[in-house]
Symmetry: C2
Subunit: 253 residues, 2 copies
DNA sequence: TCTAAACGATGACGCTGCGTCAACCGCAAG
DNA sequence: CTTGCGGTTGACGCAGCGTCATCGTTTAGA
């Protein structure tokens, strides 16, 4: 089955302008231009547009989407599976906002006390999770390594030199983490240096640093199995936990 | 407790630029400007910012947010309750996307068949629900009648004359619906005229019409109790159901 | 006390992803 | 042929900031 702009826009719930814009920027070309000059889309473009809409739903910018879906090692099934995971994250985020709003209502009824910090739960955590999910190595593993190399760099808004620097910092972080783990004490000077390196690594992505956010992110490392697996696979069993403990201590000083 | 820009940005997980921009557009003024020219925010602004972030999470534009929160009859508790309902809607929307992605995965494994239409479930429904939720009378009831009058008009991008026209069409719709209901037959010519009027009413908000979308919206009228209550309260018990049945018949022709 | 770093300010430019509009061609039905 | 709906390209504008430059203020440590 083939579609013109109007029919595809209707099918997918997007505007005709959107489809023309996507053609213009090379994100979604029609299968052909017919004799009248009309854009004609096929099944292949339908599947591509579905992918685009999932990425869009997950707040990925169009340039990045383009890099991902047109790379040689793009795997549609794998991408769908990753979309699923991300949507589950998003669902969790909304659950947190629902908790927040419930508690805010109760606070207004004088049933509970609420700190200023608690009033923003779900908004702040989103930012931390989003930054890490977007900027960390995990997205590379998820969507395909080489596919996302350039996309990730763009994510970060880093130039070549800065990117190299960040990779170097991460490398030293891994080494230092491995060595500090052998000592077994997450409050040792070596562990503190590890946490400091982690902070330095974050500085490439975060415009503002806070100990609270740092500690919050570290908690995620042990609660989200993808993050745990990332570090444990790189360094060894228990690396994410050790890093979390080090950062917790570091941020309490 | 008071906050400078940095501290409030950190607390809330927004950028300093955002806070300055919100001050500039009159959305969130600081409590005072101190002797150094620094913005100083208090508890009151914290609560306002929380509201703003909830509205932002629900994709309400800043101009509209401003109209709502600064109206004389703005009720914080009631707004929080409405945010809760909207967040539940959003959660439902994500659940639908999760169903979609699961089915897409299974279709790739050849376990099920999937139509092109099914591939966009969750994307299209979102648009319908969003349009209706934003453009219908319900938001007025929810957040405060007079508060949203101008905001709603802006939502629609309608000028004064078009707005009056739309209200007139809705009025005729109610009358026609009431009369058709008395006949009891949702396939009668009167019922078809009702559905046609409903379609005309939609034309003020929808840039493109499809029978499918029309039917989908009508289904929502009986599945979402707020929509059901809206019509039943206006016309009488069973109005939403009757309207749904009429539209279903109308869109099958 | 001095200094450096971090805080704050304003002004201005630019970006992303379209929405809207104008002008014009193609298609189908009456 | 006419009308209404479909399509096209080109171009301007918008919302909501991100980024940068320049300069004043505050804070903590030597």
């Amino acid at each position: 089955m083939t579609y013109t702009v109007h029919k595809l826009a209707e099918l997918a719930g997007v505007s005709k302008r959107t489809l023309r814009y996507y053609d213009q920027i090379g994100l979604l070309h029609p299968a052909e231009i017919n004799a009248s000059g009309y854009r004609i889309y096929t099944e292949k473009e339908v599947d591509l547009l579905q992918q685009i809409l999932f990425f869009r739903e997950l707040d990925v910018d169009l340039d990045t989407i383009k890099s991902i879906i047109y790379s040689a090692d793009f795997d549609r099934k794998k991408a769908l599976e990753e979309h699923r995971d991300r949507l589950l994250d998003k669902q969790e985020h909304i659950r947190m906002l629902l908790e927040n709003v419930e508690k805010s209502i109760q606070a207004m009824e004088r049933k509970v006390e609420m700190t200023d910090n608690e009033k923003f739960i779900g908004f702040k955590e989103e930012k931390i999770a989003e930054n890490e999910a977007n900027y960390g190595e995990e997205i590379r593993e998820a969507y395909g390594k080489e596919a996302v190399e350039v996309a990730n760099q763009k994510f970060r808004g880093l130039n070549e030199e800065q990117y190299r620097k960040m990779e170097a910092v991460e490398q030293r972080l891994f080494e230092k983490l491995k060595r500090a783990m052998q000592g077994g004490d997450p409050t040792s000077p070596g562990a503190m240096q590890t946490a400091e390196l982690h902070r330095e690594w974050l500085s490439f992505n975060w415009s503002a640093y806070s100990k609270e956010a740092h500690a919050g992110l570290a908690e995620m490392y042990v609660h989200d199995e993808r993050f745990t697996a990332y570090y444990d696979n790189k360094i060894g069993e228990g690396a994410a936990q050790f890093l979390r403990d080090s950062i917790r201590h570091y941020t309490m000083q």
